[in-house]
Symmetry: C2
Subunit: 229 residues, 2 copies
């Protein structure tokens, strides 16, 4: 078992996140992987996940007053997914403070995305328990500021056709079929109607839009909603 | 379009939840289904979902200090799933206040689980935006008190074998196969080792336990983790 690699101590971590713990036990728990003992960061991770989710949701809700529920929800997914959390964790060098068991230590657990992401979530919970919601919100928003204010943030959204395809592939289901049902409206204001079908599930959805592509995306979104129900 | 069925007005709702809105527009938005107009409760629902999640997570974390992360997470799923929210929504008679479009109104949308659940989440967000985290937390915990303090709350947890089976069925995949690999240890302290396999996904996991059933549950839990990765 190792503790505080590179003799880093939590003072430098506290400086980095601009927060000083009243109860240092909390941050030590947050930095303890389950491989290192029974008192570890798993319960904190459970709590931290929810805290992160509401703080990001709140921020997106206010920053993007015109975004739809679907867009907000996909933006949040991007911002709280394991990969993103691991990047943040690396920026904070959380791996340097991790307490790991012998096995994880040897296999380089402090570099692993999932361990780093969990550790970040646990740290969020530790701050919350040590202070309050407003305080942890301030720290999270500080960490996320450049990501949320990123002008290209909407580029991180996958479109629904891609999401549907990935979902079906990961569930070993056949790919969706799109079929143009009708083109209506005036020449300069056409309305496309498209059918999306996943034959093996026997589900069909329809989408309308001013281009065929837009209509397909809407049909794909509805299909995803059906599949995830 | 209808507004405030049975001539109920939001005063009675405010009394029921013991909260008076400063900005009544917020609660009206929360009670407006998308079928009734462009300014509806979808964005609020997105926010409310997260608020509910952290308040329930926080409460479970403190009320069940010995529960594992997995148990906490399954308890929360039970407490925030659509069915539970619809029950709460009915207790609060939210259906009486719903603003629905003509189509939904005719087809009885104010009785539908999903619409009622969404509306409850949106109301939670409306309270949060109108006040603050501590205030909405108080109201949620008040609504949930008997559910969280329920002595039988752990009975609502599905075991992992059931969860795995449901997951596979809902994804139209073949059922898992369990195979006893070995029985070790002394007579009074036996150790069972079990293999769980989902052939069509070509994934195998193993579980160990003091009974065959326990070993199977652990193998099923690992399988679920693999599948949900």
């Amino acid at each position: 078992m190792r503790y505080l690699l590179k003799s880093a101590n939590i003072t430098s971590l506290q400086r980095k996140i601009a927060y000083k713990f009243n109860n240092e036990k909390l941050i030590k728990n947050a930095l303890t992987h389950r491989s290192a003992g029974a008192t570890n960061n798993e319960r904190l991770e459970f709590l931290g996940d929810s805290i992160l989710s509401i703080v990001i949701a709140d921020s997106l809700y206010h920053n993007f007053p015109n975004a739809s529920e679907g867009e907000l929800s996909r933006l949040r997914s991007y911002l709280v997914k394991g990969e993103t959390l691991a990047v943040i964790s690396r920026e904070l060098k959380l791996g340097d403070y991790l307490l790991l068991g012998q096995g994880e230590l040897k296999s380089g657990g402090f570099r692993r995305d999932s361990i780093l992401a969990d550790c970040f979530e646990a740290m969020i919970a530790a701050i919350y328990l040590d202070s309050n919601f407003e305080q942890v919100k301030k720290i999270i928003l500080n960490i996320y500021e450049t990501r949320i204010k990123d002008n290209n943030i909407f580029n991180h959204l996958k479109d629904f056709k891609t999401m549907l395809q990935e979902y079906l592939q990961s569930n070993k289901l056949d790919l969706p079929k799109y079929e143009l049902l009708s083109i209506g409206g005036e020449q300069h204001n056409q309305q496309f109607e498209v059918l999306c079908e996943v034959p093996s599930m026997n589900i069909k959805t329809e989408g309308k839009g001013t281009t065929r592509r837009k209509a397909e995306k809407i049909a794909a979104e509805k299909m995803l909603q059906q599949l995830l129900k």
